[in-house]
Subunit: 240 residues, 2 copies
Amino acid sequence: MALPVSTAPKYYVLKEELRVLAADSEPGATLPPERTLAARYATSRTTVRQAIAELVAEGVLHRTQGKGTFVAAPHPTYVRQLTSFSEDAGVQNLDTSSRIISVDVVPADALQAAQLGVAPGSLLTRVERVRLINGEPLAHETAHVPGDLGDIRTHLDEHGSLYSTLSRCYGIEIAVAEDTVATRVAGPDEARLLVVEVGAPLLMIHRRGLDADDKPVEWTRSVFRGDRFHYFARMNRASE
Amino acid sequence: MALPVSTAPKYYVLKEELRVLAADSEPGATLPPERTLAARYATSRTTVRQAIAELVAEGVLHRTQGKGTFVAAPHPTYVRQLTSFSEDAGVQNLDTSSRIISVDVVPADALQAAQLGVAPGSLLTRVERVRLINGEPLAHETAHVPGDLGDIRTHLDEHGSLYSTLSRCYGIEIAVAEDTVATRVAGPDEARLLVVEVGAPLLMIHRRGLDADDKPVEWTRSVFRGDRFHYFARMNRASE
DNA sequence: TAGTGGTCTAGACCACCAA
DNA sequence: TGGTGGTCTAGACCACTAG
């Protein structure tokens, strides 16, 4: 909870010292091993690890078992724009790509049915992907589209973009998008997929795509790495 | 980093058991003390605390030194809508209020100057507030408006809303809003203001308000409790 | 005063990586 | 193989809350 105003905990003092140390180093530089830091700062390894853990969560450091702890490189930050959602893509001169994890047809659960306005149990096509930026994981995305679009995988391989695939191959046009943004900490599965630590802060976005008649045609749950992602929206008050 | 696929760490197993235990209890129920849990699950207090710490970060539990660990009450979730930003307010039947921390006039730093399109060093009126929901802290907000609006405090006390105050008392009308949403972990100061633990996930939103001529007239940095806040935006593709 | 969570210690063993 | 981070232990003392 709140820290005592008078004396900061030792791990916190160390954390701030390490933050300065990291700022003064080149990105990618190796930090001294935990045991060395413990000796140097006359403390225990547990305390050192608590300090490092919070800096890792903030994206200042990263570490790999067996290798060491490093100053995090300034990674490109992907900005998702709701302003003109031109496929969210390369506007920023970033090399974006996708890795398809699975494509299957599943019955809708209660939440999916409600979001898509279909009966629970009716069939949805589910596309699960990892979005990459410069070859590194940025987001884990699961899209749901009503109906059985069993052959969508081939078309996705061609175009990459889900929206353009829906438009070109199935005549599904998305006219309106609704985004809900929340924060979330990484569980073991997400941590593995996104190559972050368990407990790292993530941004979770649920996007619902509607057609010109305001009928829901797509519902996607995306989980982004918090350290490499911003969300942007611009809204005219008049357009209310 | 990634967990071994075969065996989950003990703290993680315990974490999920405690999650179920919490779900089966009434909100506000007291969890057994850490030392008791350590004995019951044949583990050390350190391991118990690691499990509890992650659940606290997720908002499942909360704890107070000297009192105990409790099942978190299902708190109202405030949803900020960019759709029709009717002051972001009571649309949700929630009792919202503000506590003004400070109102002062400061010279613009580089970032503020860039965002507001003024010269660095020129005067800004800065309003720092804590936004409350049902009397509990939801967000820490710092607004910047170009110029010296020294008497704004009295007007704020009257109206509460910054936007309506700007409109009624200064003729400043905000026509367009640009929001940037990012995730962030709580430092000691934010933890104290928002009554969360250090390391808790937060949502940070930078909002820039523009007038009808697209001239920036307001720039606000808000930090929301991640466990009680969602951000929502709806966008017409046509309106591009 | 007794009991709680907050911090810290000095080890231990395991899993992983590179030479 | 040696060194790294990952997990875990069995304690200790401090800070805070309550009766």
